[in-house]
Structures are given as C-alpha cells and as structure tokens.
Symmetry: C2
Subunit: 315 residues, 2 copies
Amino acid sequence: MSDIDVLISEVGPRDGLQSIKSIMPTDAKKAWIKAEADAGVREIEVGSFVPPKLLPQLADTAEIVAYARTLPGLAVAALVPNFKGAENAVKAGAHKITLPLSVSETHSQANLKKTHAQVLDEVRKIVELLDSLPADQRPDFEGGLSTAFGCTLEGKVPEAKVVELARELIALGCDEVGLSDTTGYANPTQLRRLIKLIWAEVGQDKLTGVHLHNTRGLGLANAHAALEEGITTLDSSLGGIGGCPFAPGASGNIVTEDLAFMLDAMGLQTGIDLAKLLAVRQIVRDALPDEELYGFTPDAGLPKDYSPGGWGIAA
Amino acid sequence: MSDIDVLISEVGPRDGLQSIKSIMPTDAKKAWIKAEADAGVREIEVGSFVPPKLLPQLADTAEIVAYARTLPGLAVAALVPNFKGAENAVKAGAHKITLPLSVSETHSQANLKKTHAQVLDEVRKIVELLDSLPADQRPDFEGGLSTAFGCTLEGKVPEAKVVELARELIALGCDEVGLSDTTGYANPTQLRRLIKLIWAEVGQDKLTGVHLHNTRGLGLANAHAALEEGITTLDSSLGGIGGCPFAPGASGNIVTEDLAFMLDAMGLQTGIDLAKLLAVRQIVRDALPDEELYGFTPDAGLPKDYSPGGWGIAA
C-alpha cells in the first residue's frame, strides 16, 4: 500500500451479510464487490468459511472468493472460525484469513463454541497448514481479538488478557493480530491505550488494523483516534450494515462512505473515488430492499465544490 | 468549570427548535431545561432573540431565559442576531450572548440580511451597551464564526478570512470567538488547523469552544480532534435535533447523549449523570412527537456493568 496512507478494508459482504436475515444472491455479491473494487477499495472481506447451516447467507463464500480473486489489485480476505474453515479458505484461494478469538471466553463459547485453549489449538494447526504451502499460495493469517473492549455478556474485559492473547497468537505464528470492538464499547482513550499496550508486547508491525463498530455513535471518533496513534487499516461496511449476531445490541459497523469521506477530506490517500463509492450503495439497496442502510454522507452529499484529496487543507 | 474537564453546552432549545416546524410549548421547554440542568448540564443556550415572526418557535425566549436563571449553577446562553436582540437578552438576564457572524458573506446575507461590515457594526454597538452595564449584569459576549469550515452557498471559505474576522471580533471587544461548523463540512485535520491559526492570532483563551454538526457523520470525530487540540467547550443538542434552516442539507447537531457518553467513557469529567441525561429524551419526545430524534447510545444503552467516570481505563 505504498501509494496510499490508509487502507479501508470493506467487511460488509462478511460482517454485514452475516448479521442480517436477508440472503443476498451470489450475483449481487459479485456486482457489489466488483463495484467497490472499481471504486478503488483495495481489500474486501468477502465471506466466512462457516458451515452453511449456521450462516446460509455466506454459503457461497468459496465461489465469491474465487470470483474476487479475478479482480485486479484486490486483496481478498475471508473469516475462518477453525482449522476446517482455513483449509477451505486456502483451497478457494483467499489472500488473507482471519480467525476471531474472543477475549471474553463466555463470548468465545457463544460464538465459536470453543474455549481459548481450543481456539489457540486451531490456530496452531492452521499455522502448520500454512507453513506447508508454497510461499505464493500462503495467505496472510490474522488473529482477530474480538470483544477486546468489553463484552455484552461479561462486561469489562481485562486489558492484560487482551495483551496476553495477542502475544500467544503471534507466538503461535499469526502474521498479525487485529483489535475488534465487537460490541461497540470502545472509546478513543481506551483504544489508544490498548494499541500502545499491544505494540509494546508484540511490536508495531504486528498490529496495523482495527475493526470498529458504531453502536454508540463513536465509530469515526475511534477511527480518528486509531489514525492518530498510527493505525493504517480500518475496517468498515458499506451502508454500515452488520455487527455480531451473538452480541445483542452490538450491530452497526462503521459506514464505509462516511469513513472514506472523512479520510479523503483530511487529505489522506485511500485510493478510493468517493463518487464511485457512493454509487455502490444502490447495488446493495437493490439487492437488500428490506434492510436499513446507515450513513450520513450519502444523504448530505459532498460539500459544495468538493474536490478529492482534501477539504480546507490549503487556505 | 474548575471541577470538570469539558463543558457540554446544550444548544437544543435554540439550534434544535429553530430548525424544526413544530413549536414546543413553553412549559415543555422549561421541563426540558430543568431536567438537563438536574442531570448536570452546566450551560444551555435556551433561545434566540429574533423577531417572533421569523422564528415563532422561539417567541418565548425572554420568559425561558428568566426561568432558566432560577436554576442553580446553570449558565444561561442566548443567541442574538443584532443590537436589538442583545438589548432584549440583557433585559431578560442572559449570562452569555452569542452573535453569529457568517464567514461566508453570502450566508450572512441569507441568514441575517447583513454584510460583514453591518454585522461588525452591530458588534460595536453591543459592546458599548455591555460596557455601560454594572459588572455583575454584564453577560459574556461571544462572536460566533459561522460557516467557518465551508458554506453550502459559497463552497470553500478562505481560512485567512476566518482568522481575520476572529481578530476583528476580539478587537471590537468580544470576550471570545466560537468556531461553528454550520454546514457540517468540517474534518478533524481542518478543525485542528483552524483552531491553531485562530489561537496564533488572538490567543488560546479567546477560543475555547466549537459548535460542530454531524451532517456527514463526523461530529464526534471532530469533537475528539478538538479535545485533542485543547478545546474545552463542545456544543451539542439532545437527540441531535437542529441545524441551520438557511443552509440546506446542513441539519444535525452532535447528539448530546452520544457526546456525554464518549467523554465519560474517556474518563473526562463533564458533571453530567448519564442515566439522568438519557431520561431527558422522553421529555423531548413527548413534546415533539412528530420530530425524529437521533443518537446511538440511547438505543444501544450503556455497556454492561458500566460505571460512571471511565470505561476500560484502569485494567
């Protein structure tokens, strides 16, 4: 990403679609992903390798990964809940896989039906699998620290526990960890503090991205705080759809449109064409007519005489 | 405000009510203001001294100011569009008056029907009036720099113009200037830059507050940026109602509930009891059944096992 300042990682096709009841047709998913890639989005989490009976919305993930790989310049990411999922992700050709490890063990049991020890065992087996692959077929492997800012089931989550699990994930061979505000509990001070603590433990290059929600309206404030701290990858969802079906009341990813506008207005390069990005919304709306889309910039429009690459920077 | 870190200045009874069609009954306004003061809000802009035929929603401002003055510990603020308004505000006993000066002269003409020179002339006369008063009857006088981040009519606004008008307002005798993102165009980088430029011109003690909108979803990100820069007063509106009737598409103040949650979660003292603040919403909802209320925290609720005064700060 040498030519951009911040990587916006679109998670709508995974985090968005998994948490709504409507099932988006495969062709619509392809059209959505293609349109976002055409708008300049460099990374998209396109699905999750979970059993179709658990998440029928994502049953076509292997086909979607294969399709997304044909789009030039796009990094194709997928969620994997366990070793089996990782095997399927590798077969499908994902460039990046993320395994979520809930810092709240209660949430881990609810989400993956596994204790920490059991999840870490899956991580170990996944690393063995990846290490057996030729280098050009090896996906990046991220350990996602879910519920890192608190849990709807357990309440507060000890920061020491987050740091300890980050250390274990890296020690086991994850390329990177991610910080996930699954429940929308994070605030800027907590976020900056936790980033620093994890960096101190595993190194700055092992945590470059955060996954934030907008559950309490703090999504972009947290994104801004993460940027100030030095984070360079921000997850978001087109139309703000999505959340975690096992964390009640925790729906609502950051809205890609609002995030992209904020970054562009700040003069940060994302590679995204705002006008093209805003037009993608119609594809999602047409394919999911019963779902509410969020976001303010799409309704308000860009400022009068807005030109890409900054607003009000040069006087 | 020695015992708090950040002053939340509630502007809903003025900025909120002026931009909606419903007229809130005087008794409901009093109940709203009392409930917010009881929840710990220290400053409320309770109305505007404009001709009732222009804004019938605010025709009872003098009565509201007089009532609000009876609430212990509350700073009672009012908007004044001109000298006549300031006279009435002084008569009513406002603790603070703000005169908006649109940096965009086109917007100034649309909003106040006055050029910059004409508005500055009103400022001069108001200062003369205030200087003639006994010290204990003299309200604080803020010059509000409206459309400071861009204008829906003019587009970009030169930063040099904002700084020049700030200098003139202070030179004429305003106690302070305020920065207003009337149109919801501001971004964190622009905001921090403009704060620094104005401080360099008039001194840090002459700009302590910003008035931000959430028109493009960046409200709390901008609030966070302002805090980082050293701003200590943030305007917001309960339920996010309000905006500027003369700046199309520019509605949407920052939501007081979300702002108060963010600050409290960050461990910053605002003096506000979150549970009591959230309960105020019902008063506004009952009094304005046809108006949409905004905000995420009221729907999502506070985090599980939340305790006031910080979240996730101490591990």
